[in-house]
Symmetry: C2
């Protein structure tokens, strides 16, 4: 049977901060270690589980709760779940931490100016041009985690350094 | 690590046919055998994962796909997933079978007259009185499985007999 303890590792932060990049790197490392891992990418889930949800506060809350529900089910069943989604609301992140229990909040922190300079998906440019509304960091709020379990400062550390921070925390807490 | 092979056991049938009753019994047996099992009950999911969805054809399809998405994730990760939901559309059930791969369709079959006579939740009475619209078996279609992996005829077999049918199939296919 399943011997591994499940946990949800929740990567939160602005668009372009590096959430999915770090989550992917952590995913690779864990798979090498033969762990049961599932990466839930917020952008991808908007095509499937969260199809039809927009970017209003209500829809963002529903989006976070729906992803949290699935992460909880997987965590209960011994999976290490890596969630990568902006998830801007502190209260909802706290709610999910309480519900899931085995929960590590990773704040992927980069100044909005850095994220905007990177603009990997060209979304900041569209937001500045008014083509996208309710864009986090531009015209929608991002509530910074007050006590994240891990903070990755992606404007001043390498992807490898951020990845090691997350893996070290998982090890320290006995999940790997 | 996880040694168990995952599988989705999809219980389909009319309201009151006995889907959740059998799924619960299977769940208990598997838990005694220390298997990693998750029961996804359609009625309960309408309060969480599928909140806001109604009973139009479009919403029912979305409901089935959303539950299927979660069942797939769990199955991939070695969980035996018991899904109990009317899921009236053959094509969508087939779509989920193709996607999930490890998939056992259990047709929980009882004549509508029997389900209506049982009327555990009082829903048939409400449907007949016109208080509920789009009720499966009354004014909404149920597409009978043509080649279910298991058929439980709950008007003529006991819960224990139905449960054994499902467990036997799981064993025969090597999942337990």
């Amino acid at each position: 049977m399943n011997q591994q303890r499940g946990v949800t590792v929740w990567f939160t932060g602005l668009s372009g901060a590096g959430k999915t990049t770090i989550a992917n790197a952590v995913d690779r490392e864990l798979k090498i270690a033969a762990a049961s891992v599932e990466l839930l990418d917020g952008d991808e889930l908007r095509q499937t589980l969260c199809r039809g949800l927009g970017f209003s506060a209500i829809d963002r809350i529903e989006n976070m709760r729906r992803i949290g529900f699935v992460a909880h089910l997987l965590t209960k069943n011994g999976v290490i779940v890596l969630v990568s989604t902006i998830s801007p609301y502190r209260e909802i992140r706290q709610e999910l931490r309480r519900k899931i229990g085995d929960f590590i909040e990773v704040y992927v922190n980069a100044p909005v100016a850095v994220c905007e300079w990177r603009d990997v998906k060209g979304l900041y440019e569209q937001a500045r041009a008014g083509l996208i509304e309710n864009f986090t960091g531009i015209d929608a709020a991002y509530e910074v985690p007050l006590q994240p379990d891990v903070e990755c400062q992606t404007d001043r550390e390498t992807i490898a350094q951020s990845t090691i921070k997350v893996l070290t925390k998982l090890e320290k807490l006995g999940y790997i």
